[in-house]
């Protein structure tokens, strides 16, 4: 478009005249085609299909498993579904030697994740936020475990914990008869061994969340507190940490979810043997297999659902309340 001008006056710098672009701006046509019948059909499909999928895969299945929790069913043909009322729950609460340990371990899982990797992640984030040298390297190193699947982490940590050939026992000579440490089989040890592996990953996750939160802290706050003569700890405690409130909420929710869905690491590690029972593992053990106890497994799943609701409903209520206020 400007080739003509450049050939005519080669020396002249082609300074664009002010407002040259204005005639190019398209004037709206005045009429705009809105949705044709076909469009509405496609739109309907677009909104309808996900809705159907969502309802079918989330709500129908959720209600189906709640209903199945009151039946016994081996999964073969619908005519073998038998209504048993609360029998599954009665059986679960009174007769299943793995149920209460599983509930307990899910709780321990949550408490341990809040007490160990969360402060550690926060600490690392604060250090990394100081723009120290090789900050990127550290960030990558700490975040790397988060990228890996928990199943893979399970395999990796088994190489460390294997009582016969693993790293720890080989180093300290605890794989000899007499002073044998069974990291995987001993119910007093195995949960903690797995929690260390879980924390190893969770720390990086927490670090990234807090790092993002810290990047959002107004630098003038730091300056102001420095001017007021606060030392580093005081600044963190009284100024920085309170501003991390939204991040803390996210961290809490994420950790609760991690504790409730804990499964893969344990399943790979020792399939939820004594000492590492979890609700999710009990559900799987009862439902998957050749002659499944689908009703019973559903009852455990319903317990897990109820626990999740107890945690999630208050969170949602408080979030929505905040939004309405805003």
């Amino acid at each position: 478009m400007s080739s003509e001008t450049t050939t005519k006056i080669p020396e002249a710098a082609p300074a664009p005249p002010p407002g040259a672009a204005t005639p190019k701006r398209r004037v709206p046509q005045g009429h705009q085609r809105l949705l044709t019948r076909r469009d509405r059909l496609t739109l309907g499909l677009m909104a309808g299909l996900p809705t159907i999928l969502h309802v079918a895969l989330v709500w129908v299945t959720a209600f189906a498993s709640i209903a199945l929790a009151f039946t016994t069913w081996d999964g073969i043909g619908f005519d073998s579904i038998k209504w048993v009322g609360f029998d599954n729950f009665k059986e679960l609460f009174t007769n299943n030697p793995q149920f209460w340990p599983a509930v307990e371990h899910n709780i321990i899982w949550f408490v341990a994740l809040i007490l160990i990797p969360t402060p550690l992640g926060l600490f690392l984030a604060v250090q990394l936020d100081k723009q120290i040298r090789f900050s990127r390297v550290y960030q990558t190193a700490f975040f790397l475990p988060v990228v890996m699947s928990l199943a893979v982490i399970g395999f990796v940590w088994q190489l460390i914990y294997n009582p016969d050939t693993g790293l720890i026992n080989s180093l300290i000579g605890a794989n000899e008869p007499g002073h044998y440490i069974d990291w995987i089989g001993d119910p007093d040890l195995n949960l903690w061994a797995i929690l260390i592996a879980a924390s190893w990953r969770h720390t990086g996750y927490m670090m990234i969340l807090y790092l993002a939160g810290l990047k959002g802290v107004d630098p003038s706050l730091r300056e102001a507190s420095a001017l007021d003569g606060a030392n580093e700890w005081q600044t963190f405690k009284n100024v920085i940490f309170p501003t991390l409130r939204p991040t803390n909420t996210v961290v809490l929710v994420v950790t609760i979810i991690e504790a409730l869905r804990a499964f893969d690491l344990v399943f790979v590690f020792n399939k939820g043997a004594e000492g590492t029972e979890l609700l999710s593992i009990l559900v799987t053990n009862n439902i998957i297999g050749e002659s499944s106890r689908i009703g019973y497994g559903s009852a455990i799943a319903v317990v897990l659902l109820l626990i999740s609701l107890v945690v999630i409903i208050p969170y949602l209520v408080s979030t929505f309340r905040k939004e309405r206020r805003a």
């Binding site: 004037v27 016969d164 297999g289 050749e290």
Partner: protein
């Protein structure tokens, strides 16, 4: 439908942006037919092909079965379409697989596991096949292949015994003798411990090996009939007879390798390979861990020792694998032909050429090519009065996996409190077996 826009600069959703979003929805929609297409992949309905659902996903058995089916095709002109699934996945999905559109025939296990699906109508009886192949099998195999209704449902292919494995060189070095009675066995354990060996290698991380220990003790102490009753959920776990099994077991637990719940059977087998352990009670597949030919030649076994002379060593645990006919095979005539072929000694010989860690289920199969270990296993099985499968093949799998596996792990880690353990097992058993 056209509508005039109210203002000239309405920025709202234009038709183009609306439609652009639809691309994504179309992709989603396309996924649905794909999902349903997964279910029935082999839809060949011609009579010249038989489809086989196979769980032989490991390299060695996979090749063995491929050779067998190739030989069948060559002989009969009927093509075999093999649909191989990962071994464990096959087991986990067998329920839905058989209810959907299964292959004409499928590989499965003898025992309760076969009877369960037969009684649910998910397999077709094959009495006509057995009329042809019956003579090829010993009576114990006949029993193993029948459903609870007395009809045949399985063609057995391969089997292998459970026994106590040891290394000849170790026994020679210390001058040990093969124990045939319980007292001799315990005395040998004591001696081995003195000699600085782990008397009995043990690993129960996968939770099933301990069920094998229970089986051996139970049918040696209480006999085959009680064992069957117990597995069928009829006898009580609080019976003094069961209590005795656990007491006897507890007596030898100090001679078992420490930390069994954290160790896989493979790792336990390695202690036998390394000559650190004296004995290992397991299935003959333990030979798979002896990768060195000289070590393998050094491997030997003896039958689990006699405890009660009334029962002697008459029962052998010999898990048997075979093949079944699905409920509505597309090619019934071809499937029958294939099953008849698989019931011949010839088919088993072809298979065992590729996989020498097992034994033919048929007594007609040529044993001249067997290794010393196979020959001994074959003898043991053919002389047995009763064959059992394994706890998780002889009893309801939902009971064994959700109740027995954790209970036995608890016991071998800490053998105290047997009574409360047994009453807990019995209570849980009642609800599971009552659920039909």
């Amino acid at each position: 439908m056209h509508r005039s826009s109210p203002g000239q600069s309405m920025p709202g959703t234009s038709r183009r942006t609306v439609l652009r979003g639809l691309g994504g929805a179309a992709v989603l929609g396309a996924g649905i037919p794909l999902l349903s297409a997964c279910a029935g992949s082999s839809a060949s309905s011609d009579t010249k092909t038989v489809t086989v659902g196979s769980n032989a996903s490991d390299a060695v058995p996979k090749k063995g079965y491929a050779d067998v089916y190739a030989a069948f095709t060559k002989q009969s002109g009927i093509a075999v379409d093999i649909n191989t699934k990962d071994h464990n996945t096959f087991q986990e999905q067998i329920n839905t697989y058989l209810q959907g559109t299964p292959d004409d025939v499928f590989q499965w296990f003898a025992g309760y596991r076969m009877q369960f699906f037969a009684s649910k109508g998910l397999a077709a009886p094959i009495d006509d096949v057995w009329k042809t192949i019956g003579d090829n099998f010993p009576s114990a195999m006949h029993d193993l292949s029948k459903g609870q209704d007395g009809k045949y449902y399985l063609v057995p292919l391969t089997t292998s015994p459970w026994a106590v494995f040891y290394r000849k060189s170790v026994f020679q070095k210390y001058g040990y003798e093969v124990p045939t009675t319980w007292d001799a066995y315990v005395a040998l354990c004591r001696q081995m411990k003195k000699d600085g060996l782990v008397p009995i290698a043990y690993g129960d991380k996968d939770a099933w090996p301990a069920m094998g220990s229970f089986d051996q003790l139970n049918f040696r102490l209480n006999g085959y009939d009680f064992h069957v009753e117990l597995m069928a959920g009829k006898a009580s776990w609080t019976d003094a007879k069961v209590r005795k099994v656990f007491d006897t077991w507890a007596e030898t637990l100090p001679y078992h390798q420490e930390g069994a719940v954290g160790r896989t059977w493979q790792d336990a087998a390695q202690t036998l390979v390394a000559k650190k352990a004296g004995m290992y009670m397991l299935g003959m597949f333990v030979a798979q861990q002896f990768s060195n030919k000289a070590d393998l030649d050094d491997l030997d076994f003896f039958a689990f020792p006699e405890i009660d002379p009334a029962y002697g060593q008459d029962t052998v645990e010999a898990p048997t694998d075979g093949i079944m006919l699905s409920k509505k095979p597309k090619n019934h005539a071809g499937s029958v032909k294939l099953l008849e072929f698989l019931g011949t000694a010839q088919a088993e010989e072809i298979y065992l050429k590729a996989d020498p860690s097992l034994i033919a289920a048929s007594t007609k199969a040529d044993t001249s090519g067997y290794s010393a270990l196979q020959k001994k296993g074959y003898e043991m099985i053919s002389q047995a009065k009763h064959l059992t499968q394994f706890m998780d093949r002889d009893s309801r799998p939902d009971f064994t996996s959700t109740v027995m596996q954790p209970a036995l792990q608890k016991f071998i880690r800490d053998p105290k409190g047997i009574d409360s353990l047994l009453s807990s097992i019995e209570r849980q058993k009642k609800t599971i077996f009552a659920s039909g």
